[in-house]
């Protein structure tokens, strides 16, 4: 009966709060030659190419779902989420699996790089002129040697209501 409505122990997801202080470790990845990073603690798995089941009627960014050791993971095409063109069919790509409030999501990217430990001295807020779509899903930029790394905010990246109304 109403017991079903009891607040179950809500698992505070690791992705909910990102503290930008001290040294932080990031898993880096490349999408359309741009480097992105996700705090390493939010990453569950890194996958190679996977067989994905398409989901009809789903938002275009949802590439489908896949089976990760018995759990169903929703695959998100980050390229489309960032307003880029879809990945060419001949490139296999890779995925990073993240956990958001107990649900697993697989973020499809072009390639996954190494884990970098970065100091906050190199961190900077998003430039005001950044594409609003990117600004929405990013917490800031790290200045690296020779290139810039955009930090992705997983909860916001997976918040689809903002896209639907846009």
């Amino acid at each position: 009966m109403s017991n079903a409505k009891l607040p179950s122990t809500v698992r505070k997801s690791k992705g909910d709060d990102i503290v930008v202080s001290g040294n932080q470790d990031f898993v880096t990845m490349t999408i359309a030659d741009q480097m992105f990073g996700i705090p390493v603690l939010q990453v569950q798995d890194v996958l190679g190419h996977q067989r994905i089941t398409r989901i009809p009627l789903a938002p275009p960014e949802v590439a489908g779902s896949l089976n990760l050791r018995g759990r169903i993971v929703t695959a998100i095409d980050v390229r489309l989420r960032l307003g880029l063109t879809g990945r060419p069919k001949d490139k296999p790509g890779m995925s990073i699996v993240v956990d958001l409030r107990g649900e697993l999501y697989s973020l499809m990217v072009d390639s996954v790089g190494e884990v970098l430990s970065l100091t906050k001295e190199d961190f900077e807020r998003n430039p005001a002129t950044l594409d609003p779509r990117w600004r929405e899903v990013s917490t800031g930029i790290y200045r690296l040697n020779g290139q810039l790394m955009v930090v992705l905010d997983v909860p916001r990246l997976l918040n689809f209501t903002t896209i639907e109304t846009a």
């Binding site: 009966m1 607040p7 009809p56």
Partner: protein, 923 residues
């Protein structure tokens, strides 16, 4: 045994064992307030539940003990070993009374005055000196006496009793029995004061003596030993019962079930691999694994199974009360009460079942006079029948009343604007009956407090569909009606048909699949088209077809190998609506574990979940209900189809159905569809002027027409669309230019409007849209509309009650009680959970809270709610058996609006009603 009683016994026995330990700890640390308040709370709970169940003897003992504990707590008495022994003694008395209660389902006669007096003396602080041990003896004797008295004792039983009482020469058996209950341990005590106890034993023992002439002397002289022995027997019996059942957290079982489901899936995968390999050394062990897994699955499923009788337990009483209230004679027959089904399913169908039985009693059965007139017996019959059928449970609710009044349903359907007369004329009776499943539909001539509120069958239907079940109605005028509910045995694993369409595979729950038809140019079945709509001739009926490919907007560009002229049709039944789903291929059926889809995909109605197949791939599970509603379940005409989908979507939780229209200049406008009664097309030639305002004759009444734009001039000819708002027998027409669409969106008003008549602007269907304030226009038509309109709308909504009580027993007791009284109850076990709900954004009309709770007490909870929480305006009712003037004051200061004695059902219902009306009056 009565469910309530056995639940009470389990809980109280548990509490008593805790109390034993806690009291001993208290004696050692008398200054531990936490320990004391816990003890107090436990005793208090026992007292409260006894009161509720009408067990005066137990209640009195518990009450007296509670008084003493209360004094301890308030610091008026110091804790000393004597007082603690006295409390322990009282607990032993309670235990022995419970033992009798368990054996005979009734309290033993008599009272415990000496004990209570001593407790009262102790409470007054007058207890001095060592306690003469008085009361230990009578209760142990009581079981024997009561057992002998309250049942027509058979010779065998007496024999057993006689054998259990040792003769004078037997050594007292108590020391030899290694039983561990306190009762046995205490039994030798009375020996120190034999005179007291014997005085008390003799009068009680007389009935035994009278029935068994021989053992008079031994019984009297061996009173202690006999009593102790009976007690010991009871104790061993109790522990035997305890050893047979253990209480396990439901979550643990749920977890276990999930794990087993996964195991089943893995086994299925292995078996599939095995099938593809001819010779494998894994074959034998896999076969074994297969068997073990099946058995394990069955075993775990059994732990979740409960007889359906549990859901029916409250019905006889309900029907009896109803019969009384409605002046009808009703005979309720329940068949197959021991049919077992998953407890999760059971919980979910409990309310719908109750509702339907209530409906049958109220609407279905006639009053005795009417029954006699139509040649039936005076007593109406409602039959509940449950049985298994191929992995499903079928529940039939049948009454021999007047049957569904097709004419009244038609009338009501027209009145509610659900269909036009022309459409109704072309419908079969079966289709017309379906209307009673629509929201807001009630044919009860008058709204009684039993039924007829207009929320009913649609909720039943939604609830049943939620668990993958179906409901069917059969009715014969004058002969009665039958509701047939078909639900899956368990929610965890379902059997599904795997189909393929445009290269993608999908699962369709087997429960909805009726048959499969192959349609090809060379077979006897071919798909024909009516203005592009595919249909199939199946046994002289036209079956509407749904193309899965079109429905899911699948492009088949990737899939070229599909044989173009061959299509499979999955004939699917949802309720009584049968339709065919066109797919490219049909595979096997497979057992699947339904997993919910990711939150970002929940809005897609076509899917009820997803799962992993034997080959490891993920597959979406189609929801036949979603498909049916997406394609127009009633298969009515085009115009009505629009309205039906609108009506169906109305119940979506987060989203709201909005009617988009254009009126005047500027942005498109929207109004919540639920407020609109009908859409009409008014011939402007029929518009008349009354009191300077345009009116139109509408269904024999005058309906004022209000334009959105005040400067709008009503043309003298042509037609104009009008939104009709109705409440009771009044209606008002809002003149608009054009009705654009009905959409379902989250209504999120972003810009508040300055102009009267506008609520603000929101993004609807991708466009900035003005949301109109219907209330403003209603008051333009009728100045006093709002008073009555509001009442009308609130009637439909159940009042939401939040119940906070730490005792699961009380929660289980009060939840159905309040539900039956028409409240929507949410129960939580402590103040923390309640506040969590507050933070989670839940809203309630009233909060009912216990006072004595571990952790945050009711007073603290009330203070927390009153000071700065979002709920600070929600009325609160305190629930406690502690209703002294001081407590009342404390409750009011803490912020409670009312204070109710815990065991007084009527007072609670009255207080709730009162509080809610006060609140409404104040608002």
């Amino acid at each position: 045994m009565d469910d309530l009683l056995s639940e009470f016994l389990t809980e109280t026995n548990e509490n008593l064992s805790v109390l034993d330990v806690e009291l001993v700890r208290l004696e050692q640390n008398p200054n531990n307030p936490e320990l004391l308040s816990n003890i107090f709370r436990l005793v208090h709970t026992i007292k409260g539940t006894c009161g509720f169940l009408g067990l005066p003897r137990l209640e009195k003992v518990a009450h007296a003990s509670e008084n003493v504990l209360g004094k301890f707590r308030d610091g008026e008495l110091t804790i000393n070993p004597e007082a603690v022994s006295l409390i322990l003694q009282a607990l032993d008395t309670i235990k022995s009374l419970l033992a009798v209660l368990e054996a005979t389902e009734a309290e033993p006669p008599g009272d415990d005055l000496p004990l209570i007096e001593r407790l009262n003396l102790c409470a007054e602080g007058k207890l001095g000196g060592p306690a003469p041990v008085v009361a230990a003896a009578p209760p142990p004797t009581a079981p024997a006496v009561a057992a002998a008295e309250s049942r027509p004792a058979t010779l065998d039983e007496l024999e057993a009793l006689w054998n259990s009482i040792p003769g004078p020469n037997d050594p007292p058996p108590a020391p030899a029995v290694p039983a561990s209950t306190a009762m046995v341990a205490r039994a030798p005590e009375p020996v120190e004061e034999p005179v007291h106890s014997q005085d008390l034993v003799v009068p009680d023992a007389e009935p035994v003596a009278a029935k068994m002439p021989a053992p008079v002397a031994p019984a009297a002289s061996g009173g202690h030993a006999g009593g102790a022995d009976a007690g010991a027997e009871a104790a061993t019996k109790e522990s035997a019962v305890a050893a047979q059942t253990i209480r396990v957290n439901v979550d643990l079982l749920e977890n276990l079930m999930t794990m087993v489901s996964e195991l089943v899936l893995t086994r299925n995968q292995l078996l599939q691999i095995l099938r593809s390999q001819k010779e494998s050394e894994f074959a034998a062990p896999l076969q074994r694994l297969n068997h073990v897994t099946s058995e394990l699955q069955e075993g775990v499923m059994k732990t979740r199974m409960q007889p359906i009788g549990n859901a029916w337990a409250k019905l006889p009483r309900l029907v009896r009360d109803l019969a009384h209230e409605l002046n009808k004679k009703i005979d309720l027959q329940m068949l197959g009460a021991d049919t077992e089904l998953d407890r999760q399913v059971l919980e979910l169908i409990k309310d719908p079942l109750t509702h339907m039985v209530r409906n049958s009693a109220d609407h279905g059965l006639e009053i005795p006079a009417e029954r006699l007139k139509s040649g039936k017996t005076e007593t109406g019959r409602i039959t509940l029948n449950a049985y298994h059928e191929g992995g499903h449970i079928i529940i039939e609710i049948q009454d021999d009343g007047r049957g569904l009044a097709i004419d009244r349903i038609k009338q009501k359907a027209i009145q509610n604007g659900m269909a036009s007369e022309g459409e109704l004329a072309s419908m079969t009776d079966q289709q017309i009956i379906q209307f009673i499943m629509k929201p807001g539909f009630s044919t009860a001539a008058k709204v009684t407090n039993v039924s007829g509120r207009g929320v009913g069958m649609d909720v039943v239907k939604t609830n049943i569909e939620k668990i993958g079940g179906t409901i069917e109605i059969k009715s014969a005028q004058g002969k009665g009606s039958t509701f047939v509910i078909k639900i899956p045995l368990t929610l965890a694993i379902v059997s599904a048909l795997i189909v393929e369409c445009a290269g993608e595979r999908f699962a369709i729950p087997q429960i909805s699949v009726v048959e499969l038809v192959r349609a090809a140019s060379d077979s006897e079945h071919t798909i024909e088209r009516l203005k592009g709509t595919p249909v199939l001739r199946l046994r002289n009926r036209l079956l509407p077809l749904v193309s899965l490919q079109q429905l899911l907007r699948l492009d088949d560009s990737e899939d070229a190998k599909k044989p173009a002229d061959e299509t499979f049709i999955v004939v699917t039944q949802v309720g009584t609506y049968t339709f065919g789903i066109m797919v490219d291929r049909v595979f096997d059926t497979e057992e699947i574990v339904v997993k919910p889809v990711a939150p970002i995909l929940r809005h897609i109605e076509m899917f009820s979940g997803n799962t992993i197949l034997g080959d490891g791939s993920v597959i979406m599970i189609l929801d036949p209900n979603g498909i049916a509603s997406a394609t127009g379940e009633m298969a009515m005409g085009e115009a009505a189809g629009k309205e039906t989908t609108a009506v169906q979507t109305q119940r979506q939780e987060d989203k709201m159905a909005l009617l988009l229209f254009r009126a005047g200049h500027g942005a498109p406008k929207a109004v919540p569809l639920s407020l609109v009664a009908r859409l009409e097309d008014v011939d402007l030639a029929t518009v008349e002027l009354s009191n300077g305002l345009p009116v139109v004759q509408y269904r024999g009444k005058l309906m004022p027409l209000v334009p959105i734009d005040p400067n709008f001039v009503v043309a003298s000819e042509g037609r104009q669309p009008v939104l009709v708002f109705a409440d009771g027998d009044r209606s008002m027409g809002l003149i608009v230019d054009e009705i654009v669409d009905i959409v379902e969106e989250k209504l999120n008003v972003q810009l508040a409007a300055e102009r009267p008549g506008l609520m603000g602007s929101a993004i609807i269907a991708g466009k900035a849209t003005e949301v109109i304030d219907a209330g403003f226009y209603l008051t333009q038509a009728y100045k006093d509309w709002f008073g009555s309109a509001q009442e009308g709308f609130e009637e439909e909504k159940l009042q939401r009650v939040l119940l906070v009580d730490d005792s699961p027993f009380f929660r289980n007791l009060l939840t159905p009680l309040l539900s039956v009284a028409g409240y929507d109850v949410t129960a939580v076990e402590n103040a923390g959970d309640a506040l969590a709900l507050c933070e989670a954004g839940e809203d309630f009309d009233v909060i009912v809270s216990d006072i004595e709770m571990p952790g945050m007490s009711g007073f603290d909870f009330a203070e927390a709610v009153r000071h700065g929480s979002r709920w600070h305006r929600i009325p609160m009712v305190a629930l406690s058996s502690h209703a002294s003037a001081r407590d009342l004051d404390r409750g009011r200061i803490a912020g409670f609006n009312d204070y109710v004695a815990k065991f007084d059902r009527d007072a609670l219902l009255f207080a709730l009603q009162q509080t809610l009306t006060d609140q409404k009056g104040a608002a």
